[in-house]
Amino acid sequence: MDNNLAHKILFAHLSSGKPVTLKVKGISMNPTLSENDEVTVESADEYFPGDILVFLYKNNELLIHRLLFIKNGRYYCKGDNAMRLEDVDRTQIAGKAVLRNGVPIPEPPEHLIELSYLVNRRFRKNGYSSDLTKQSGIYRFYKKYIDKKEDKTMIYQKNDSLDYIQADETGLAVFDAESGNTYLFDETGIDILKCLETPCTLDELLDRLCEIYDATPDFIRADVEEFLEQTVANKVVIVS
Protein backbone atom coordinates (compact mmCIF):
# COMPACT_ATOMS: atom_id res chain seq x y z
CA MET A 1 0.00 0.00 0.00
CA ASP A 2 1.17 3.48 -0.79
CA ASN A 3 2.58 5.19 2.35
CA ASN A 4 0.37 8.24 1.99
CA LEU A 5 -2.73 6.13 1.91
CA ALA A 6 -1.55 4.04 4.85
CA HIS A 7 -0.98 7.17 6.91
CA LYS A 8 -4.41 8.53 6.06
CA ILE A 9 -6.01 5.26 7.10
CA LEU A 10 -4.01 5.32 10.35
CA PHE A 11 -5.10 8.87 11.22
CA ALA A 12 -8.72 8.13 10.31
CA HIS A 13 -8.76 4.98 12.40
CA LEU A 14 -7.25 6.69 15.44
CA SER A 15 -9.43 9.76 15.21
CA SER A 16 -12.49 7.53 15.29
CA GLY A 17 -11.38 6.45 18.77
CA LYS A 18 -10.07 3.00 17.88
CA PRO A 19 -6.58 1.94 18.98
CA VAL A 20 -4.05 0.77 16.41
CA THR A 21 -1.13 -1.61 16.82
CA LEU A 22 2.11 -0.69 15.06
CA LYS A 23 5.46 -2.44 14.79
CA VAL A 24 8.54 -0.42 15.74
CA LYS A 25 11.24 -0.04 13.16
CA GLY A 26 14.70 1.24 14.03
CA ILE A 27 16.54 1.94 17.28
CA SER A 28 15.81 5.60 17.88
CA MET A 29 13.71 4.85 20.95
CA ASN A 30 16.04 2.28 22.58
CA PRO A 31 15.88 1.07 25.32
CA THR A 32 12.30 2.27 25.84
CA LEU A 33 11.09 0.70 22.60
CA SER A 34 13.04 -1.87 20.56
CA GLU A 35 12.95 -2.96 16.94
CA ASN A 36 9.91 -5.15 16.27
CA ASP A 37 8.13 -4.18 19.49
CA GLU A 38 4.39 -3.94 19.01
CA VAL A 39 2.99 -0.71 20.36
CA THR A 40 -0.67 0.07 20.84
CA VAL A 41 -1.43 3.63 19.88
CA GLU A 42 -4.46 5.69 20.89
CA SER A 43 -5.59 9.16 20.06
CA ALA A 44 -5.99 11.64 22.94
CA ASP A 45 -7.48 15.09 23.44
CA GLU A 46 -4.25 16.34 24.94
CA TYR A 47 -0.63 15.28 24.94
CA PHE A 48 1.84 15.96 27.70
CA PRO A 49 5.65 16.02 27.96
CA GLY A 50 6.82 12.48 28.50
CA ASP A 51 4.19 10.96 26.18
CA ILE A 52 5.52 8.81 23.33
CA LEU A 53 3.82 10.19 20.24
CA VAL A 54 3.23 8.81 16.77
CA PHE A 55 3.42 11.62 14.28
CA LEU A 56 4.06 12.47 10.66
CA TYR A 57 7.30 14.32 10.14
CA LYS A 58 8.93 15.83 7.04
CA ASN A 59 9.02 13.72 3.88
CA ASN A 60 6.04 11.80 5.14
CA GLU A 61 8.10 9.98 7.78
CA LEU A 62 5.98 8.32 10.44
CA LEU A 63 7.90 8.53 13.69
CA ILE A 64 7.35 7.34 17.23
CA HIS A 65 9.29 9.61 19.59
CA ARG A 66 8.93 11.17 23.02
CA LEU A 67 7.35 14.59 23.49
CA LEU A 68 9.82 16.77 25.43
CA PHE A 69 7.96 20.05 25.55
CA ILE A 70 5.28 22.15 23.90
CA LYS A 71 6.04 25.71 22.91
CA ASN A 72 3.92 28.23 20.97
CA GLY A 73 1.61 25.46 19.84
CA ARG A 74 4.45 23.31 18.48
CA TYR A 75 5.24 19.87 19.89
CA TYR A 76 8.95 19.14 20.27
CA CYS A 77 9.80 15.43 20.15
CA LYS A 78 12.98 13.39 20.31
CA GLY A 79 13.87 9.74 20.25
CA ASP A 80 15.25 8.46 23.56
CA ASN A 81 18.23 7.12 21.59
CA ALA A 82 18.47 9.97 19.11
CA MET A 83 19.86 13.47 19.11
CA ARG A 84 17.59 15.37 16.76
CA LEU A 85 14.60 17.39 17.91
CA GLU A 86 11.51 17.28 15.73
CA ASP A 87 8.82 19.93 15.98
CA VAL A 88 5.34 19.30 14.66
CA ASP A 89 1.94 20.85 15.03
CA ARG A 90 -1.07 19.18 16.58
CA THR A 91 -2.51 18.05 13.24
CA GLN A 92 0.57 15.96 12.52
CA ILE A 93 0.12 13.86 15.66
CA ALA A 94 -1.77 10.61 15.15
CA GLY A 95 -1.76 9.43 18.75
CA LYS A 96 0.35 8.25 21.64
CA ALA A 97 1.78 4.85 22.53
CA VAL A 98 0.09 3.34 25.56
CA LEU A 99 1.15 -0.32 25.46
CA ARG A 100 4.40 -2.01 24.53
CA ASN A 101 3.87 -5.65 23.63
CA GLY A 102 0.62 -5.53 25.59
CA VAL A 103 2.17 -4.01 28.71
CA PRO A 104 1.43 -0.41 29.77
CA ILE A 105 4.30 1.95 29.00
CA PRO A 106 5.57 3.42 32.28
CA GLU A 107 6.08 7.10 33.00
CA PRO A 108 9.58 8.25 32.03
CA PRO A 109 12.23 8.43 34.78
CA GLU A 110 12.24 11.74 36.63
CA HIS A 111 14.97 13.63 34.76
CA LEU A 112 14.77 11.95 31.38
CA ILE A 113 13.16 14.89 29.61
CA GLU A 114 15.66 17.48 30.83
CA LEU A 115 18.65 15.21 30.13
CA SER A 116 17.33 14.24 26.70
CA TYR A 117 16.97 17.91 25.83
CA LEU A 118 20.51 18.63 27.05
CA VAL A 119 21.78 15.97 24.63
CA ASN A 120 20.00 17.74 21.80
CA ARG A 121 21.46 21.03 22.94
CA ARG A 122 24.96 19.54 22.84
CA PHE A 123 24.19 18.10 19.41
CA ARG A 124 23.25 21.53 18.11
CA LYS A 125 26.31 23.15 19.71
CA ASN A 126 28.44 20.48 18.04
CA GLY A 127 27.14 21.53 14.63
CA TYR A 128 24.86 18.47 14.46
CA SER A 129 27.82 16.09 14.64
CA SER A 130 26.66 12.86 16.25
CA ASP A 131 30.26 11.63 16.60
CA LEU A 132 31.29 14.69 18.59
CA THR A 133 28.13 14.52 20.66
CA LYS A 134 28.72 10.88 21.55
CA GLN A 135 32.05 11.87 23.07
CA SER A 136 30.48 14.58 25.24
CA GLY A 137 29.99 14.16 28.96
CA ILE A 138 26.29 14.94 28.86
CA TYR A 139 25.65 12.27 26.22
CA ARG A 140 27.60 9.67 28.21
CA PHE A 141 25.76 10.70 31.38
CA TYR A 142 22.45 10.43 29.60
CA LYS A 143 23.30 6.98 28.26
CA LYS A 144 24.31 5.83 31.74
CA TYR A 145 21.03 7.24 33.06
CA ILE A 146 18.81 5.66 30.45
CA ASP A 147 20.66 2.35 30.10
CA LYS A 148 21.29 2.19 33.86
CA LYS A 149 24.92 1.30 33.24
CA GLU A 150 27.73 2.85 35.24
CA ASP A 151 30.44 4.77 33.44
CA LYS A 152 33.40 5.12 35.74
CA THR A 153 35.18 7.55 33.47
CA MET A 154 32.67 10.38 33.76
CA ILE A 155 34.00 13.52 35.43
CA TYR A 156 31.66 15.76 37.41
CA GLN A 157 32.20 19.36 38.32
CA LYS A 158 30.23 22.25 39.80
CA ASN A 159 29.07 24.63 37.06
CA ASP A 160 30.85 27.88 37.84
CA SER A 161 28.92 29.87 35.26
CA LEU A 162 25.87 30.03 37.55
CA ASP A 163 25.34 32.45 40.44
CA TYR A 164 25.96 30.88 43.86
CA ILE A 165 24.29 32.82 46.64
CA GLN A 166 24.93 31.39 50.06
CA ALA A 167 22.63 32.65 52.79
CA ASP A 168 24.45 30.79 55.59
CA GLU A 169 26.07 27.37 56.22
CA THR A 170 22.71 25.69 55.81
CA GLY A 171 21.18 27.35 52.77
CA LEU A 172 22.46 27.97 49.27
CA ALA A 173 20.61 29.36 46.27
CA VAL A 174 21.95 28.75 42.78
CA PHE A 175 20.55 31.04 40.13
CA ASP A 176 20.65 30.22 36.42
CA ALA A 177 20.29 33.49 34.54
CA GLU A 178 19.67 31.67 31.26
CA SER A 179 16.59 29.82 32.43
CA GLY A 180 15.63 32.18 35.28
CA ASN A 181 15.44 29.18 37.62
CA THR A 182 16.66 29.10 41.20
CA TYR A 183 17.73 25.90 42.90
CA LEU A 184 17.98 25.61 46.67
CA PHE A 185 20.42 23.39 48.55
CA ASP A 186 20.66 22.48 52.22
CA GLU A 187 23.84 21.60 54.16
CA THR A 188 24.24 18.24 52.45
CA GLY A 189 23.86 19.76 49.00
CA ILE A 190 26.33 22.47 49.95
CA ASP A 191 28.86 19.84 51.02
CA ILE A 192 28.46 17.86 47.79
CA LEU A 193 28.83 20.97 45.65
CA LYS A 194 31.94 21.95 47.61
CA CYS A 195 33.41 18.52 46.81
CA LEU A 196 32.62 19.15 43.15
CA GLU A 197 34.63 22.36 43.00
CA THR A 198 37.46 20.17 41.74
CA PRO A 199 36.47 17.81 38.90
CA CYS A 200 36.16 14.20 39.98
CA THR A 201 34.62 10.85 39.13
CA LEU A 202 31.69 9.48 41.08
CA ASP A 203 33.99 7.20 43.09
CA GLU A 204 36.27 10.12 43.95
CA LEU A 205 33.26 12.18 44.97
CA LEU A 206 32.02 9.39 47.22
CA ASP A 207 35.45 9.14 48.84
CA ARG A 208 35.52 12.89 49.45
CA LEU A 209 32.09 12.81 51.02
CA CYS A 210 32.98 9.84 53.21
CA GLU A 211 35.75 11.94 54.69
CA ILE A 212 33.13 14.47 55.78
CA TYR A 213 30.40 12.06 56.78
CA ASP A 214 30.90 8.94 58.77
CA ALA A 215 29.69 6.58 56.05
CA THR A 216 30.83 4.12 53.44
CA PRO A 217 30.68 4.84 49.69
CA ASP A 218 28.10 2.13 49.09
CA PHE A 219 25.86 3.57 51.80
CA ILE A 220 25.67 7.00 50.21
CA ARG A 221 26.02 6.01 46.55
CA ALA A 222 22.31 5.94 45.66
CA ASP A 223 21.62 9.34 47.24
CA VAL A 224 24.66 10.92 45.59
CA GLU A 225 23.69 9.46 42.20
CA GLU A 226 20.21 10.90 42.59
CA PHE A 227 21.72 14.25 43.52
CA LEU A 228 23.92 14.13 40.42
CA GLU A 229 21.01 13.19 38.17
CA GLN A 230 19.06 16.17 39.41
CA THR A 231 21.93 18.64 39.29
CA VAL A 232 23.16 17.52 35.86
CA ALA A 233 19.59 17.86 34.59
CA ASN A 234 19.37 21.43 35.91
CA LYS A 235 22.96 22.20 34.91
CA VAL A 236 24.23 22.98 38.39
CA VAL A 237 26.72 20.16 37.76
CA ILE A 238 28.44 19.58 34.45
CA VAL A 239 29.73 16.23 33.27
CA SER A 240 32.58 15.53 30.87
Binding site: D163, A167, D168, F185, D186
Partner: protein, 263 residues
Amino acid sequence: MKNLYFHAPYQTCFRINCDCDEINANLYLHFGKYISENKFPAEYEISITQNGEQYVMESGGTVRETSNPLLEIDRFIFEKTKYDNSVFAIHGAAVEYNGKAYLFSAATTGGKTTLATYLTNRGMGYITDDCILLDRENFCIYPYNTPIHLRPGGVEALKKCGISLRLKEYGSGIYQRFTYNPENCVTQKIPLGKIFFISRNENENKVEKMTTVEKFTELMKSPITLYDTNAEYIRFISRLAVQQCFILKYSDLDFVKEVIRNG
Protein backbone atom coordinates in the same frame (compact mmCIF):
# COMPACT_ATOMS: atom_id res chain seq x y z
CA MET B 1 -17.04 64.62 38.52
CA LYS B 2 -14.61 64.59 41.39
CA ASN B 3 -10.89 63.96 40.96
CA LEU B 4 -9.35 61.91 43.73
CA TYR B 5 -5.79 60.67 43.98
CA PHE B 6 -4.69 57.39 45.44
CA HIS B 7 -1.18 58.15 46.58
CA ALA B 8 0.51 55.63 48.85
CA PRO B 9 4.17 55.37 49.85
CA TYR B 10 6.70 53.80 47.49
CA GLN B 11 4.17 52.82 44.81
CA THR B 12 2.30 53.96 41.71
CA CYS B 13 -0.11 56.87 42.01
CA PHE B 14 -3.59 56.73 40.45
CA ARG B 15 -6.12 59.41 39.62
CA ILE B 16 -9.73 58.40 40.04
CA ASN B 17 -12.50 60.55 38.71
CA CYS B 18 -16.01 59.58 39.54
CA ASP B 19 -19.41 61.23 39.34
CA CYS B 20 -20.99 59.18 42.13
CA ASP B 21 -20.86 60.52 45.69
CA GLU B 22 -21.41 57.08 47.20
CA ILE B 23 -18.44 55.60 45.35
CA ASN B 24 -16.27 58.55 46.33
CA ALA B 25 -17.26 58.12 49.98
CA ASN B 26 -16.45 54.40 49.76
CA LEU B 27 -13.04 55.21 48.32
CA TYR B 28 -12.24 57.11 51.50
CA LEU B 29 -13.47 54.15 53.56
CA HIS B 30 -11.40 51.75 51.47
CA PHE B 31 -8.10 53.64 51.13
CA GLY B 32 -8.23 55.95 54.13
CA LYS B 33 -5.63 58.70 54.29
CA TYR B 34 -4.11 57.61 50.97
CA ILE B 35 -7.05 59.06 49.04
CA SER B 36 -7.26 62.80 48.75
CA GLU B 37 -8.09 65.64 46.44
CA ASN B 38 -4.48 66.80 46.57
CA LYS B 39 -2.92 66.55 43.16
CA PHE B 40 -0.08 64.11 42.57
CA PRO B 41 1.56 63.03 39.34
CA ALA B 42 -0.55 60.02 38.47
CA GLU B 43 0.63 57.25 36.22
CA TYR B 44 -2.86 55.90 35.57
CA GLU B 45 -6.33 57.34 35.39
CA ILE B 46 -9.56 55.60 36.26
CA SER B 47 -12.85 57.09 35.26
CA ILE B 48 -16.20 55.96 36.66
CA THR B 49 -19.56 57.12 35.35
CA GLN B 50 -22.84 56.01 36.79
CA ASN B 51 -25.31 54.59 34.30
CA GLY B 52 -28.48 53.69 36.16
CA GLU B 53 -27.68 50.74 38.42
CA GLN B 54 -24.47 50.01 36.53
CA TYR B 55 -21.23 51.92 36.25
CA VAL B 56 -19.05 52.46 33.24
CA MET B 57 -15.40 52.22 34.12
CA GLU B 58 -12.63 53.39 31.85
CA SER B 59 -9.11 52.44 32.79
CA GLY B 60 -5.92 51.45 31.03
CA GLY B 61 -7.48 52.03 27.64
CA THR B 62 -10.40 49.67 28.19
CA VAL B 63 -14.02 50.38 28.96
CA ARG B 64 -16.23 48.03 30.89
CA GLU B 65 -19.55 48.01 32.66
CA THR B 66 -19.67 46.88 36.24
CA SER B 67 -22.04 46.73 39.16
CA ASN B 68 -19.14 46.82 41.61
CA PRO B 69 -16.84 49.68 40.65
CA LEU B 70 -14.96 49.63 43.96
CA LEU B 71 -13.92 46.03 43.37
CA GLU B 72 -12.87 46.85 39.81
CA ILE B 73 -10.87 49.87 40.96
CA ASP B 74 -9.16 47.69 43.55
CA ARG B 75 -8.33 45.06 40.92
CA PHE B 76 -6.97 47.61 38.48
CA ILE B 77 -4.82 49.25 41.13
CA PHE B 78 -3.54 45.84 42.24
CA GLU B 79 -2.64 44.84 38.66
CA LYS B 80 -0.95 48.07 37.74
CA THR B 81 0.85 49.00 40.93
CA LYS B 82 4.62 48.95 40.76
CA TYR B 83 6.65 49.34 43.91
CA ASP B 84 9.76 51.40 44.32
CA ASN B 85 12.97 49.38 43.80
CA SER B 86 14.11 50.24 47.28
CA VAL B 87 11.27 48.27 48.92
CA PHE B 88 10.14 44.67 48.92
CA ALA B 89 6.34 44.48 49.05
CA ILE B 90 5.10 41.47 51.01
CA HIS B 91 1.54 40.23 51.07
CA GLY B 92 0.93 40.33 54.77
CA ALA B 93 0.05 42.23 57.93
CA ALA B 94 2.42 43.82 60.42
CA VAL B 95 2.28 45.18 63.95
CA GLU B 96 4.76 46.91 66.19
CA TYR B 97 5.78 45.87 69.69
CA ASN B 98 8.58 47.37 71.75
CA GLY B 99 9.96 49.21 68.76
CA LYS B 100 10.17 46.19 66.44
CA ALA B 101 7.97 45.07 63.55
CA TYR B 102 6.37 41.64 63.52
CA LEU B 103 5.25 40.46 60.10
CA PHE B 104 2.56 37.91 59.29
CA SER B 105 2.67 36.45 55.84
CA ALA B 106 -0.27 34.45 54.51
CA ALA B 107 -2.44 34.16 51.44
CA THR B 108 -5.82 35.87 51.21
CA THR B 109 -8.26 34.64 53.92
CA GLY B 110 -5.29 33.34 55.89
CA GLY B 111 -6.38 35.33 58.95
CA LYS B 112 -3.77 38.09 58.94
CA THR B 113 -6.31 40.95 58.98
CA THR B 114 -8.19 39.54 61.95
CA LEU B 115 -4.88 38.89 63.67
CA ALA B 116 -3.63 42.44 63.02
CA THR B 117 -6.89 43.85 64.37
CA TYR B 118 -6.74 41.70 67.48
CA LEU B 119 -3.13 42.57 68.24
CA THR B 120 -3.62 46.31 67.74
CA ASN B 121 -6.55 46.10 70.13
CA ARG B 122 -4.27 44.44 72.62
CA GLY B 123 -1.85 47.35 72.63
CA MET B 124 0.41 46.73 69.66
CA GLY B 125 1.03 49.37 67.01
CA TYR B 126 -0.71 49.07 63.66
CA ILE B 127 1.59 49.08 60.64
CA THR B 128 -0.48 47.50 57.88
CA ASP B 129 -2.99 44.73 57.23
CA ASP B 130 -2.31 43.78 53.60
CA CYS B 131 0.90 45.14 52.07
CA ILE B 132 4.15 45.25 54.03
CA LEU B 133 6.79 47.64 52.69
CA LEU B 134 10.21 46.35 53.68
CA ASP B 135 13.33 48.36 52.96
CA ARG B 136 15.69 46.19 50.91
CA GLU B 137 18.83 47.67 52.41
CA ASN B 138 18.18 47.76 56.11
CA PHE B 139 14.98 45.65 56.38
CA CYS B 140 13.10 48.43 58.16
CA ILE B 141 9.34 48.41 57.72
CA TYR B 142 7.58 51.51 56.46
CA PRO B 143 4.10 52.22 57.80
CA TYR B 144 1.25 51.73 55.36
CA ASN B 145 -1.79 52.36 57.51
CA THR B 146 -4.69 51.62 55.19
CA PRO B 147 -7.98 51.11 57.01
CA ILE B 148 -8.36 47.53 58.13
CA HIS B 149 -10.95 45.72 56.01
CA LEU B 150 -12.59 42.90 57.91
CA ARG B 151 -14.80 40.23 56.45
CA PRO B 152 -17.93 39.23 58.39
CA GLY B 153 -16.12 36.10 59.63
CA GLY B 154 -13.31 38.21 61.07
CA VAL B 155 -15.76 40.49 62.84
CA GLU B 156 -17.42 37.45 64.44
CA ALA B 157 -14.08 35.96 65.49
CA LEU B 158 -13.13 39.22 67.19
CA LYS B 159 -16.49 39.49 68.97
CA LYS B 160 -15.87 36.03 70.43
CA CYS B 161 -12.63 37.39 71.86
CA GLY B 162 -14.55 40.21 73.45
CA ILE B 163 -13.46 42.83 70.93
CA SER B 164 -16.14 45.19 69.76
CA LEU B 165 -15.11 47.78 67.20
CA ARG B 166 -16.48 50.93 65.69
CA LEU B 167 -16.92 49.70 62.14
CA LYS B 168 -18.17 51.21 58.91
CA GLU B 169 -19.75 48.90 56.44
CA TYR B 170 -19.53 49.01 52.68
CA GLY B 171 -20.02 46.63 49.78
CA SER B 172 -22.50 43.77 49.78
CA GLY B 173 -22.72 40.01 49.37
CA ILE B 174 -19.32 38.39 49.11
CA TYR B 175 -17.79 41.86 48.74
CA GLN B 176 -19.16 43.10 52.05
CA ARG B 177 -16.44 44.61 54.21
CA PHE B 178 -16.20 46.37 57.55
CA THR B 179 -13.55 49.02 57.85
CA TYR B 180 -11.84 49.97 61.00
CA ASN B 181 -9.27 52.68 61.61
CA PRO B 182 -6.97 51.74 64.48
CA GLU B 183 -5.99 54.62 66.71
CA ASN B 184 -2.49 53.42 67.45
CA CYS B 185 -0.93 53.67 64.01
CA VAL B 186 2.81 53.47 63.57
CA THR B 187 3.93 56.51 61.64
CA GLN B 188 7.69 56.06 61.41
CA LYS B 189 9.75 53.28 59.91
CA ILE B 190 10.81 50.67 62.43
CA PRO B 191 13.34 47.84 62.44
CA LEU B 192 12.34 44.30 61.60
CA GLY B 193 11.71 41.98 64.54
CA LYS B 194 10.47 38.65 63.23
CA ILE B 195 8.66 37.22 60.22
CA PHE B 196 5.92 34.67 60.78
CA PHE B 197 4.40 32.50 58.07
CA ILE B 198 1.01 31.95 59.61
CA SER B 199 -1.69 29.36 59.27
CA ARG B 200 -4.89 29.33 61.22
CA ASN B 201 -6.36 26.02 62.35
CA GLU B 202 -8.88 24.52 64.73
CA ASN B 203 -6.74 23.14 67.52
CA GLU B 204 -3.01 23.77 67.30
CA ASN B 205 -0.87 26.57 68.68
CA LYS B 206 2.75 26.17 67.73
CA VAL B 207 5.81 28.07 66.59
CA GLU B 208 8.21 26.11 64.42
CA LYS B 209 11.76 26.94 63.44
CA MET B 210 12.55 26.95 59.75
CA THR B 211 15.60 25.84 57.83
CA THR B 212 17.22 28.42 55.60
CA VAL B 213 15.91 26.59 52.53
CA GLU B 214 12.36 26.66 53.95
CA LYS B 215 12.65 30.38 54.68
CA PHE B 216 13.93 30.96 51.17
CA THR B 217 11.01 29.05 49.68
CA GLU B 218 8.39 30.91 51.73
CA LEU B 219 9.96 34.30 51.11
CA MET B 220 9.97 33.64 47.37
CA LYS B 221 6.20 33.07 47.62
CA SER B 222 5.52 36.06 49.82
CA PRO B 223 5.60 39.13 47.53
CA ILE B 224 2.37 40.94 46.76
CA THR B 225 3.58 41.62 43.23
CA LEU B 226 5.65 39.79 40.62
CA TYR B 227 9.33 40.58 40.86
CA ASP B 228 11.83 39.84 38.10
CA THR B 229 13.93 36.91 39.22
CA ASN B 230 17.58 37.72 38.77
CA ALA B 231 20.78 37.23 40.76
CA GLU B 232 20.32 40.52 42.63
CA TYR B 233 16.83 39.52 43.71
CA ILE B 234 18.01 36.12 44.86
CA ARG B 235 20.81 37.79 46.83
CA PHE B 236 18.26 39.99 48.56
CA ILE B 237 16.05 37.00 49.40
CA SER B 238 19.05 35.13 50.75
CA ARG B 239 19.90 38.09 53.04
CA LEU B 240 16.31 38.14 54.24
CA ALA B 241 16.40 34.36 54.75
CA VAL B 242 18.93 34.70 57.57
CA GLN B 243 16.53 36.92 59.53
CA GLN B 244 14.34 35.40 62.20
CA CYS B 245 11.54 33.61 60.37
CA PHE B 246 9.14 31.09 61.85
CA ILE B 247 6.08 29.06 60.99
CA LEU B 248 3.25 30.05 63.28
CA LYS B 249 0.23 27.80 63.55
CA TYR B 250 -2.54 29.16 65.71
CA SER B 251 -6.10 28.53 66.75
CA ASP B 252 -6.00 31.07 69.56
CA LEU B 253 -5.31 34.73 68.79
CA ASP B 254 -4.03 35.20 72.33
CA PHE B 255 -1.29 32.67 71.65
CA VAL B 256 0.11 34.94 68.93
CA LYS B 257 0.07 37.91 71.30
CA GLU B 258 2.06 35.93 73.87
CA VAL B 259 4.54 34.73 71.22
CA ILE B 260 5.33 38.34 70.36
CA ARG B 261 5.42 39.53 73.95
CA ASN B 262 7.69 36.71 75.02
CA GLY B 263 10.13 37.50 72.23
